[in-house]
Symmetry: C2
Subunit: 415 residues, 2 copies
């Protein structure tokens, strides 16, 4: 009986997620409407909603008495309780921090941006972020007391020792669970959820910026890997001789060829006067042949790397992002063409290949999404839970495990 019961529980878990997702999408619904939309029996939906009501996740908002055509008792309508918590996503870039706050119904209720000089160190960046959240609170949109969890995106991974400090600062300040992760990883998740919230379970995301980073969603979950470096496609070797040395110490990495500075430099070597992405846009507008060639070559190289990754992971979408991608349609076209050829032997594998839809806001939205969109997402995070110092709770012994980048605190997470 064990495994069958287990399987049954598993199915129920997944049904519960479907019920919550339908309520997120459609707002208030009666049990009968929920049953129809998720394709479950009334009995099953009743059991699930009873449980969700008991846990305070959803609430009865009204009845369908006014709209009801037929006879019979009016049906209660249920909705996610927006008062059941707030969730904050924070994305630290090199020159700005973005914040997005959502309620428990997954509605974004506040966003903001604060700037700092590129030379700013972590204390200054944190101060800017905290001041920004303070302003959002003064506007009465954000309530510290309602904050359940904070997801913080940080650039790159170079020296991770400060990730712990960042996590701790946020946990101490907001008495909430905190997750810290690479902001490209969060941006990829946001992209996966943005266009197809219900269907994109497998996505490969590549961002061309000062460096080249990637993000993977597999079976609806962000992939971190064994030591949280998953998605580091920037350092795949694409050529062995005659290529520039990479900051990583190897030669011929994707990054030496396809980062924004590398692309601009290669365009200049082809005679185009492009120092900035704006100048590249102008060169593309006049169809500068050297620039076109560089963008096609870049697309082909990236396409082969992403094609191999797609052969490995069989995603439904491959997304390329970055300011430089936005001004270079030829690049994305060539990426798509190369991936199409690589996977041509098996047409069923063909993914959608496209430029990213979200711009700078993606990181903060993805950080929020990581907190609650798919509860199994958090399973891939290290099991590291800690009460913040001076927080409202004592440390719960069984949760007190060490971990590199996750801090979870506050009584609300364990009550």
């Amino acid at each position: 009986m064990s495994t069958t019961s287990g399987a049954h529980t598993l199915v129920r878990r997944s049904h519960e997620e479907r019920v919550l997702r339908i309520l997120q999408r459609f707002g208030a619904l009666s049990r009968g409407e929920i049953a129809r939309r998720v394709g479950l029996s009334r009995t099953t939906v009743s059991e699930i909603t009873t449980d969700l009501l008991g846990r305070g996740a959803i609430t009865v908002v009204d009845t369908d008495a006014n709209e009801r055509a037929g006879s019979g008792r009016p049906a209660e309508r249920l909705a996610i309780d927006p008062g059941s918590g707030q969730y904050m996503g924070v994305d630290f870039g090199h020159r700005r921090v973005n914040v997005a706050v959502a309620d428990a119904a997954h509605e974004i209720i506040a966003t903001g941006t604060a700037r700092y000089p590129e030379s700013a160190q972590w204390p200054e960046r944190l101060s800017a972020a905290f001041a920004l959240v303070e302003r959002l609170q003064v506007d009465r949109r954000v309530h510290y007391g309602a904050l359940q969890a904070v997801g913080v995106g940080v650039p790159g991974w170079g020296d991770r020792s400060w990730a712990d400090g960042v996590a701790e600062s946020f946990a101490d300040r907001f008495h909430a669970s905190v997750i810290v992760d690479n902001n490209v990883r969060f941006a990829g998740l946001a992209e996966a959820l943005h266009s197809h919230p219900d269907t994109v379970n497998n996505l490969i995301y590549l961002r061309l910026s000062d460096g080249v980073g990637g993000s993977l969603v597999v079976d609806g979950r962000l992939v971190r890997g064994a030591t949280s470096f998953a998605g580091e496609l920037g350092h795949v070797t694409v050529a062995e001789a005659g290529t520039a040395a990479c900051r990583c110490g190897k030669r011929g990495c994707v990054e030496t060829f396809a980062s924004a500075p590398a692309i601009l430099a290669r365009c200049r070597a082809e005679g185009a006067q492009v120092q900035t992405i704006d100048e590249l846009r102008t060169a593309v507008a006049i169809a500068h042949p050297g620039v076109e060639r560089v963008l096609r070559d870049t697309g082909a190289v990236i396409g082969r790397v992403l094609g191999a990754a797609a052969m490995t992971l069989n995603p439904s979408e491959v997304v390329v992002s970055g300011e430089i991608v936005d001004v270079s349609p030829a690049l994305v076209q060539q990426v798509a063409a190369t991936i199409t050829y690589e996977l041509s032997w098996q047409p069923e594998m063909a993914p959608v290949v496209r430029a990213a839809v979200l711009r700078d806001e993606g990181g903060a939205l993805g950080a929020v999404a990581a907190l609650f969109h798919e509860s199994p997402l958090l399973k891939s995070y290290p099991e590291a839970v800690r009460a913040p110092s001076g927080g409202r709770t004592s440390t719960t012994k069984e949760h007190n495990m060490a971990g590199p980048v996750v801090r979870v605190g506050g009584a609300r997470c364990r009550s």
Copy 2:
């Protein structure tokens, strides 16, 4: 409250899995011993075991009265109930079918092999498998009535229309849930669980055989991808010119270079008289320089492909398998060296690179493991559930969804 409750449930789910795993490993334990071994509080363990007892997954086997040193009431000892079900793994190769049957405690209680000619079609292969299971039943080790689920591994994917037929045949015959998948995928899972049942959550597996196939375990789950082609590393392009045409229609695929027949052919081109893997073994034993060169070159090419995959997925282990690998230590050494260099920029990423431990039995063991080792594993399988025709149950409407390769039937899965 919704998400926090959700997070709490999630933690409990994971604790339950830890309790079950400890019982699988150590047999009968008291609640106190369980609590110590999994690092949970007595209270939490009590709640979990009460639930598991109620579901019939575990049973009280005795008390520790005899061994008890101190005073006080003897403590009940709990164990997984082996009578709670049997699980069968089936692996169809080109010339044989392997079967392994496990009880609910994850102990393998019966194994067997039946052969058929390579020319045998599916009806003949199925008959051979059913006759083999019949013999295992006559030996009183396997009980049809106890069979909860069957995992069936099949070679390759070429024409998948028959996968449905295979699933249906097994569901009809055994009135049990059936999963059909690529046997290399199952073999990779078995390899992931074999050496490190508790720790390997991220593994890349490559098999060099008549073709080249792969398998991925990410966050403890088998990866199928959007259309179940994940892991098809055999058709990554590794060279573009002057290489043999691949059966897939492209040129320069890994498979044209690193399948067992391709390696043997390249050795012959270097003057070694090797028609078979046994002859290759002899050539390796005398350190034939041409053969050594071919194996090193193969290892370097595979190493670059696996290095890129490791950059993508950040696994803790990379495993290379196949008869030809077993006789070619130089190949695995070179794979390891190349991956080490590719990931050298980030020492924390370095995975263990090794030859497979399991041989021909891996597929059937992996098929069993897929059924129950990690319940979340099944989450990545399409939600396709169906009562077998003539089975003991009527079709449950809410589960009656169409799906390509999964058939789940039998009342036991929904009671």
